[in-house]
């Protein structure tokens, strides 16, 4: 590179090579941009179109108005799925954050065998629910699992029958979900904790601040970005939870543990009601957008100005 070029980085020479060099960043992200527009938003539009057709077995492009949405909101099962998503999503995200933070703080106490313990918390992430579903099903099954083991130990009053109870079954899905995802959140938080400058904490201690105060006033606030990243990832996992429910309960008893994702799949593919399935996907997406967008917007603004 010549001296002249560096002095005029804006490319006053206007040669072809300079133009390419200047456009290079945009050229590099262009394929991703196109992929995003076509395969994310294009397909969302495609789904929206389908949701306004009478499509059944295969897509059929005949306009049918908002009939599918009327059917969808007249469907008890859909309302139950939404309600389950609220319970599951809320508890799952909150519990994973709490559990992840707790585990990270515990692991950060300079304990022995940290490597081993960390691996134990992380390994569930390596397994898909096709793999662990049966094991979880057994553990939660009162006649062979946890309840039986505890009863056999002599605690005959112990009962843990949630997976058989239509009212409680969604909570067992939460338990298995936490098991799988909290380790990842733990890793994020642990990384955050390790990234905090020790000298600040030392200074605070010299000033006489107690450990709880330091956590509350210094450490937790500095973990704010971690909360954000974790929340985004957990929200993704919660909305898309599909294998989890399928492997653990099959949506049952009855359809008591249905989530929107399983609802959508069942109607679109098993029941040959693609139009209805598409409508449910669009409603799901709108719910996500209405929750995530304001949150993301405020975080992005914050990080830019902060």
């Amino acid at each position: 590179m010549s001296q002249a070029q560096t002095l005029s980085p804006a490319g006053s020479r206007g040669s072809w090579a300079d133009a390419v060099e200047r456009a290079l960043p945009k050229i590099v992200v262009a394929p991703s941009f196109v992929a995003c527009v076509v395969f994310f938003y294009g397909f969302i539009i495609w789904t929206a179109v389908l949701s306004m057709t009478p499509s059944r077995l295969l897509p059929r492009y005949e306009f049918d108005g908002i009939q599918r949405y009327v059917e969808l909101f007249g469907n008890d099962r859909w309302w139950l799925a939404l309600q389950n998503l609220a319970v599951f999503g809320g508890l799952f995200i909150a519990a994973c954050l709490a559990m992840g933070l707790l585990l990270a703080i515990l692991l950060d106490q300079k304990i022995r065998a940290e490597g081993f313990i960390r691996a134990v918390f992380l390994y569930p992430l390596a397994l898909s629910f096709i793999v662990t579903g049966t094991a979880w099903k057994w553990i939660l099954d009162p006649s062979i699992g946890l309840q039986k083991v505890v009863n056999d130990l002599g605690f005959t009053g112990f009962a843990f029958e949630w997976i058989k109870d239509p009212e409680m079954v969604i909570y067992t899905v939460v338990i298995a979900g936490i098991w799988q995802s909290s380790g990842f959140v733990m890793a994020l938080f642990l990384a955050g904790l390790r990234g905090i400058d020790d000298s600040i904490i030392k200074a605070a201690r010299i000033d006489g601040a107690s450990m709880p105060t330091i956590y509350r006033r210094i450490i937790l606030p500095s973990l704010r970005p971690v909360f954000f990243s974790s929340f985004m990832i957990l929200a993704h996992i919660a909305i898309k939870s599909f294998d989890l429910v399928m492997a653990l309960t099959g949506g049952g008893p009855g359809f008591a543990s249905d989530l929107p994702a399983t609802f959508m799949y069942t109607y679109a593919f098993t029941r040959n009601q693609i139009g209805l399935g598409a409508a449910s996907a669009i409603v799901m997406l709108m719910i996500v957008v209405s929750i995530i967008v304001p949150f993301m917007y405020s975080e992005l603004r914050r990080s830019r100005h902060g």
Partner: protein, 413 residues
């Protein structure tokens, strides 16, 4: 519009298949030991006729995953040669205009003469064969552990009216009267046997096949739900989401007295070394002795590119219907041959009873499609009705409310 597009894609991919032996790609969900063995026989026969078999197995549920894959395949313009699809779904696929025609094969092999009319109709779209049947499962079976009944001093129920007394005795003696797995399709399986047993074959046909509103909201239907509720009293509280074969195991090892399940349950008894008639009994569900709910596996064939495709499809279909395959496959699978003219000599007693009842009911009436196994009405309607049945079973809803919901669900299109 869409069909045009499909056709365009089909044309675009035309000629992509290599010349030489025609490839027969078969999408199926037979992956367990016995089923895989029988499918391997089919492969041998198809290859013996100079074709190449390309296996495409996707298990899961009653083929839910396979259906997802199949739809994607057809949309992408790469439909398999044949796919395991059954019941009214055959007509739904037919309506999409993507199926091939098997009429010449059917004529050459006299399918109309070999298949009962009810069955042949399921295989046709607008009067033409588009599918080939593989086997017949009987769904209205009751599997009984006679030892348990003896110990409890109970009689095996012959009608649903007898059922509560027998179940009560079993329960008093410390047994679980009915082994059940609380999954929607299993709830539905029990339900349809009750519809058949309480209302009879005509009522079953009116309500579950023709979806006649009068039958659906009749007092008989209310009685069906009442009976269904009484069965609920006699299953154990851990039944929810249990696999059917674990429920069968409860009958096998004497924890439970009976199970209502199709004839695939026999495989579990056989695997445990049990002998029919001695260690276990296979009887028609109460009050359904003169009827037969069928669940028939079949293959639909797709329009293909390439001049050699029709011959390969015809070879495949002919092989499926051949007496040799029907015998070996059904011996492995626990079902019975769908066509007449297959020797039953090697089959066990349960299968012999089943085959006899199949032939009798085909002639004398009482041969009805199983709604729980997607043989009676389109998938959307089946699903909506299943939702009603399973949520009744898992709640304390009244029979009256359930009847009203049922009638509403039957209108789902």
């Amino acid at each position: 519009m869409f069909k045009l597009k499909l056709a365009a894609i089909a044309v675009a991919t035309l000629g992509m298949h290599a010349a030489g032996a025609a490839e027969v790609e078969v999408l199926h969900w037979w992956t367990s030991g016995g089923e895989a063995k029988s499918a391997a026989e089919l492969k041998k026969m198809v290859e013996a006729r100079g074709n190449k078999w390309k296996d495409f197995a996707v298990a899961g549920g009653g083929g839910e995953n396979a259906m997802t894959v199949l739809k994607s395949r057809v949309v992408s313009g790469k439909a398999p040669t044949a796919a395991q699809v059954k019941g009214p779904s055959i007509q739904e696929w037919g309506a999409e205009g993507v199926l091939a025609n098997l009429d010449s094969t059917a004529k050459a092999n006299n399918w109309d003469g070999l298949l009962p009319g009810v069955v042949a109709n399921v295989m046709k779209y607008k009067g033409s064969y588009v599918a080939v049947p593989v086997n017949v499962h009987r769904v209205n079976w009751m599997w009984v552990n006679p030892e348990v009944f003896k110990k409890a001093g109970a009689e095996v129920p012959k009608t649903w009216a007898d059922f509560p007394a027998a179940a009560e005795k079993l329960q008093k003696a410390g047994f679980i009267p009915v082994a059940h797995g609380g999954q929607p399709w299993q709830d539905f399986t029990v339900f349809e046997s009750i519809v058949l047993g309480v209302g009879g074959a005509k009522f079953y046909e009116d309500s579950m096949v023709k979806l006649d509103p009068k039958a659906l909201s009749s007092p008989t239907m209310e009685k069906v739900f009442d009976t269904f509720r009484s069965v609920r009293k006699y299953i154990d509280k851990d039944a929810a989401n249990r696999d059917w074969n674990l429920a069968t195991a409860m009958v096998i090892n004497g924890k439970a007295g009976m199970q209502f399940m199709g004839d695939w349950a026999k495989g579990e008894f056989t695997a445990a070394g049990k002998v029919p008639g001695k260690d276990y009994l296979c009887l028609a569900a109460p009050g359904t002795e003169k009827s037969f709910t069928f669940n028939i596996d079949s293959f639909i064939v797709f329009k293909q590119q390439g001049a050699d495709a029709p011959k390969a499809q015809s070879d495949f279909a002919a092989a499926v219907m051949s007496p040799e395959f029907q015998e070996v496959f059904n011996l492995n699978k626990g079902s019975i041959p769908v066509r007449s003219g297959v020797s039953m000599a090697k089959f066990d007693d349960c299968a012999k009873t089943s085959a006899k009842d199949f032939a009798d009911t085909a002639k004398g009436g009482g041969l009805v499609p199983s709604i729980a196994h997607q043989m009676a009405v389109p998938a959307a309607t089946t699903g909506a009705i299943q939702d009603v049945v399973t949520s009744f079973f898992n709640s304390s809803q009244s029979s009256k409310d359930a009847v009203a919901k049922l009638a509403a669900a039957a209108k789902t299109k």
